[in-house]
Symmetry: C2
Subunit: 289 residues, 2 copies
């Protein structure tokens, strides 16, 4: 496994791989790897000749009041984990390497950002799209891997790849869940014991929604009420949002049809958890995508 810190060296390496017609699987991260990242790396390892992991805490995607400087970093640990997953190259540039001077161009995401978590993070997805544009032109991957837990980010990346014509296959990897259904997250350790038991209600409410839709329910508001009702009745956690949109367009819908997302965020005493389910509704037959 090689660690590359300069764009120039990375592009030379990629040129070499391309000339050998090697497929490249790319997992872009901000480091401090957790089980979700390892799932992405594992899938990338299976599906490609070469696997590139990038570790870059991107200042552009942090708001002025957000935690860029205190964001957790542990490169030695990440390096060991990457080695175990069979990563070929870690791309680990400094902020100065990625943004050597004030940029004259940047990417604006003009859609898909005014809903869900995007509402409370203005500019966040512009920063994500700008750094990914850079990383995509540097790494030129065949496939790029993202966790569907952050479904809004996946929707934005889908738009970026499609609108800018990157010849990249976007692989959205399913949510990894605990045995009881709670979506895995490094934040789960911040749940109080009683909250940890209650938190299973997030997935339970989404499963109930899926069942209702499979049973023929097509009204988004009815489904939202169902989900909210279950959460209210089974936890002290406060609902931040329960939303339903077309996916990946993230547009309001009047009826559940085509591919839709049911997404939610619930605040517990020390932590806010998110979860979602994406369902494709075909005529009278529904099924999880």
């Amino acid at each position: 496994m090689r660690v590359i810190t300069t764009i120039k060296e990375m592009q030379a390496e990629i040129k070499k791989l391309k000339s050998q017609s090697k497929s490249i699987g790319f997992v872009p991260t901000m480091g401090f790897l957790h089980e979700g990242h390892l799932t992405l790396l594992n899938k990338a390892r299976i599906e490609n000749d070469s696997v590139v992991l990038s570790i870059f805490v991107n200042p552009l995607q942090f708001g002025p009041t957000e935690d860029f400087s205190t964001y957790p970093r542990d490169f030695a640990r990440d390096q060991s984990l990457a080695e175990c997953e069979g990563v070929d190259i870690i791309f680990y540039p400094s902020v100065e390497e990625m943004y050597p001077h004030s940029s004259s161009v940047r990417v604006i995401v003009q859609d898909r950002t005014d809903v869900m978590c995007g509402k409370s993070r203005p500019g966040h997805f512009d920063g994500v799209a700008t750094v990914l544009t850079k990383l995509f032109t540097i790494v030129m991957p065949t496939r790029a891997y993202f966790g569907i837990k952050d479904a809004q980010q996946v929707a934005v990346v889908e738009g970026l790849i499609s609108d800018f014509n990157f010849p990249i296959e976007l692989i959205a990897v399913d949510i990894v869940r605990e045995v009881d259904g709670l979506a895995k997250s490094s934040r789960n350790v911040n749940l109080l014991p009683e909250e940890r038991s209650e938190a299973v209600v997030l997935y339970k409410s989404l499963t109930a929604a899926k069942n209702a839709i499979e049973g023929g329910e097509r009204n988004p508001q009815t489904i939202k009420n169902l989900v909210s009702g279950i959460i209210h009745s089974e936890t002290q956690g406060q609902i931040d949002y329960v939303e339903i949109y077309s996916y990946p367009q993230l547009k309001e819908i009047e009826n559940l049809e085509g591919t839709c997302i049911i997404a939610l965020a619930v605040k517990f005493s020390k932590v806010r958890l998110i979860d979602n389910i994406i369902i494709t509704v075909r005529q009278e037959i529904g099924g999880e995508k």
Copy 2:
């Protein structure tokens, strides 16, 4: 010579060329080719294994009051000219092919646009940068060719390539001039006979500026006054601007040092002409870059 109209087919062709390690010279245009374009194609032909010409009148770079629908188009003529210059592929997509739906992302140029011609065309360079981002990911050229006559566009493209890390060499091709020094332009035919004689003053004033700088003058305002004075005294044409900046950053400078541009625009009765000269000032020795 092949004419390709779909992005999918173009990307398949480029993939093939890349796997054969062929270098690709790219000349992006809006068609209605003139001598300037042919100079770019000729240079691209000499320096690369394959030459790709794109012809696409990009609606994004026209303002609401500008002439998108009446912009001149003559594909049959362009095709003949391209054939003569040894072009391998013309990429000729429709607007629907390039923008099949409302885009969720676009590129913003946040620098280098508030000077020279950019002042009067808000949003123009955002449209240029967005379509070039798409064309660069589609064509993946080794080298991209632009005429330095549109020096501000070259500066914006330099920023785009550098900031987004496109592995592309930007080739800025010198201004082609008539025997008397007037920069070639399809607009020159709109000069009245008397204006045509006078128009030589544009280049004459820039040459005088160059001579003054080579003689040791370092004050931008003195040079601007010199240029304006010559233009005023030798033509009825009205000065739109005479500006001096660092190049390609297009920042105001207090002293002429490093690489600088002297750019001007002059309005004649039916046409506005632009011209420029780029000079690199080293210590006491000056020379055109």
